[in-house]
């Protein structure tokens, strides 16, 4: 498990993808969120379509809203979700 990140999906994304989490192997030196996204899109066309269907996709790294340039390292938790609609 040393070189893995946990990827989570919420709301419409989770529903469309049909799963709420993935475990993804990345280099020990880390990758950007953009690179991680490309990696999971190439591995699964359903994920690629679901992410493409979200023009305002948000990302959180370790439960903090982040940019797509943020570096992700093994052990991190990365969540993708649509814009939030609470209240």
């Amino acid at each position: 498990m040393a070189d893995r990140v946990t990827v989570l999906f919420f709301a419409a994304l989770r529903e469309q993808i049909g799963q709420e989490s993935l475990s993804v192997i990345i280099p020990a030196s880390g990758v950007s969120v953009v690179a991680l996204r490309t990696q999971i899109e190439r591995a699964d066309p359903v994920i690629a379509q679901a992410l493409a269907d979200q023009p305002k996709l948000r990302v959180a790294v370790n439960r903090t809203l982040s940019t797509f340039e943020q570096l992700v390292i093994p052990g991190d938790e990365v969540a993708f979700f649509p814009p939030m609609t609470g209240g």
Binding site: A12, R63, T64, T85, G86, G87
Partner: protein
């Protein structure tokens, strides 16, 4: 505890929550409250609220602490429900106690405006005809949250 934050499936009692805010400090002179509930109409039957456990609580605590400091509050409460909620059910309670009404009312607006687009909750609507639709974020809600960047403290 001057800050009270929970994410819960159970209903909340507005009277109990108002009493909690009113008894926190003898310096409290006013309390602002906002309750959001499931709005019916156009065949809407219920909503299901999903959230990101762990991140939600952290964001709501940070938001409450920000309001405490920014508006000089004596107390701040944010309660948000998750799960399936029928028309008329309470979704969210925000409350702010302060020495004077200006800070209490402004803090109440601040809390709900920022919560709507800044805390990881998502709403899925269910209709009488069987349709289920994830609610889209409204641009006006995002503008309301952004506007607090430029407003003065109380």
């Amino acid at each position: 505890m001057s800050v009270h934050v929970t994410v819960q499936a159970a209903p909340f009692d507005v009277g109990v929550e108002a009493d909690r805010l009113s008894t926190l400090s003898p310096l409290t002179g006013g309390i602002g409250l906002f309750v959001g509930q499931v709005r019916g109409g156009q065949g809407l039957r219920a909503m299901t609220l999903e959230h990101y456990p762990g991140m939600t609580e952290a964001i709501l605590h940070a938001l409450a602490e920000e309001a405490m400091a920014r508006f000089g509050l004596t107390g701040c409460t944010i309660l948000h429900r998750v799960g399936r909620l029928e028309v008329g059910a309470g979704i969210v309670f925000v409350g702010a106690g302060a020495a004077h009404r200006g800070a209490a009312l402004m803090a109440t607006s601040f809390l709900i405006d920022r919560l709507k687009t800044g805390a990881p909750f998502w709403k899925r609507e269910e209709y009488d005809d069987g349709r289920a639709i994830w609610v889209d974020a409204r641009e006006t809600d995002e503008e309301a949250a952004r506007a607090w960047m430029n407003k003065p403290a109380a």
